[in-house]
Symmetry: C2
Subunit: 215 residues, 2 copies
């Protein structure tokens, strides 16, 4: 079964690189957070608001995108360092790519490395990057059926964040339906509702990050 063995070799190589990434960051006292969402859920905007609120210059960002360095440019003012990783046609970051990105960073004095994965609710789920925690991000305009449809992403999350709650009154979105769907797949992860734009709910998100960091 050659197809299966190729896939399993790819994942084995990825997992070995992920373990090295994790050990490297652990040794430097850095916490790595892997953020996964559909395109346009607001990963970059969330980080633009999160990093200064945690402490200016205390976090670095690795940004995955097929093309362009637009997200890295948006984050350059608030992050200690940003590395844009262009995946070409790849729909997820790999641990090897993250290892190369980490090689560009000085980890000394950093609290967090945020990994903004390629906008995709499927491919990134299978690839451990060496993160300490995984965020599944959803936004109100995407609709209230996404947890049921992409349950693997939400199952594997350490925290589930609903962004753009400032649009809850404007768009059709059944919050109870989302809560019910989350209860079916993940009873472990907190469910944080926020708007990176209005600031609503950001305290809970920042509190979760601080608790993860242990201070």
């Amino acid at each position: 079964m050659p197809k299966i063995s190729v896939v399993s070799n790819v994942l084995q190589a990825n997992d070995a690189a992920a373990a090295e990434n994790r050990a490297l960051m652990q040794a430097a006292g850095v916490v790595a957070v892997n953020i996964i969402s559909a395109p346009g859920s607001g990963k970059t905007t969330l980080l633009q608001q999160t990093i200064p609120a945690l402490a200016e210059g205390s976090s670095a960002v690795l940004v995955g995108d097929l093309q362009t360095s637009r997200d890295a440019e948006r984050l350059a003012d608030v992050a200690a360092a940003t590395v844009q990783i262009n995946t070409g046609s790849g729909c997820h970051l790999s641990a090897e790519q993250v290892a190369a990105g980490l090689g560009e960073l000085d980890l000394t004095g950093l609290d967090f490395v945020f990994i903004e994965n390629v906008g995709n609710m499927v491919c990134p789920v299978s690839f451990d990057l060496g993160e300490h925690a995984r965020v599944a991000l959803l936004s109100v305009p995407e609709g209230d059926d996404k947890v049921a449809k992409y349950h693997t992403l939400f199952q594997a999350a350490d925290v589930i964040v609903l962004n753009k709650v400032d649009l809850l009154g404007i768009l059709d979105f059944d919050l109870d339906r989302v809560r019910d769907d989350i209860a079916q797949v993940n009873t472990r992860a907190p469910f944080v509702q926020l708007s990176a734009k209005s600031g609503e709910g950001m305290d809970e998100w920042l509190g979760w990050l601080r608790a993860l960091r242990g201070h």
Copy 2:
């Protein structure tokens, strides 16, 4: 190079199945339209409005999703037939899956088969399903940077549709930036701006479909 040869075998098998799908629909006088977008761009809502406007019961829909049959249920009232194709962990439909779906349909008397691909801006792009035309769908809440970031999708499109334009006044979205980015990658495809919810712009979209059908 075993990895590359596996990928190329997969695509060869897909393309052969796609050619058969196309020939089958051609013989039945049916036009197939493959709709690709991120999760939550409004593919299902667009089809809910499109099909009755074209002619009740004149179109069938093949719906791809990792899990659930929610989209097929939403379309059951307006389509002549709907087939839900669950891909499990697969981030796109394949031509073989579409062939199986077509096997469930009676093509006699149909004008269109709409193929609602898995919500994903990357994976579906490489897989010809046997469609006659490909729609790249984007929605305002996803942001104005998506054409540059996912240019392969927009490059391969026969029409580019911007949905949820009723939110243009509410959300930050630079329409000129999107127009400029489209001009860089695709000068062939019309750019249709609409709101499946408010009905704005639907006439242009319906006109494009009718022209594709040749009547």
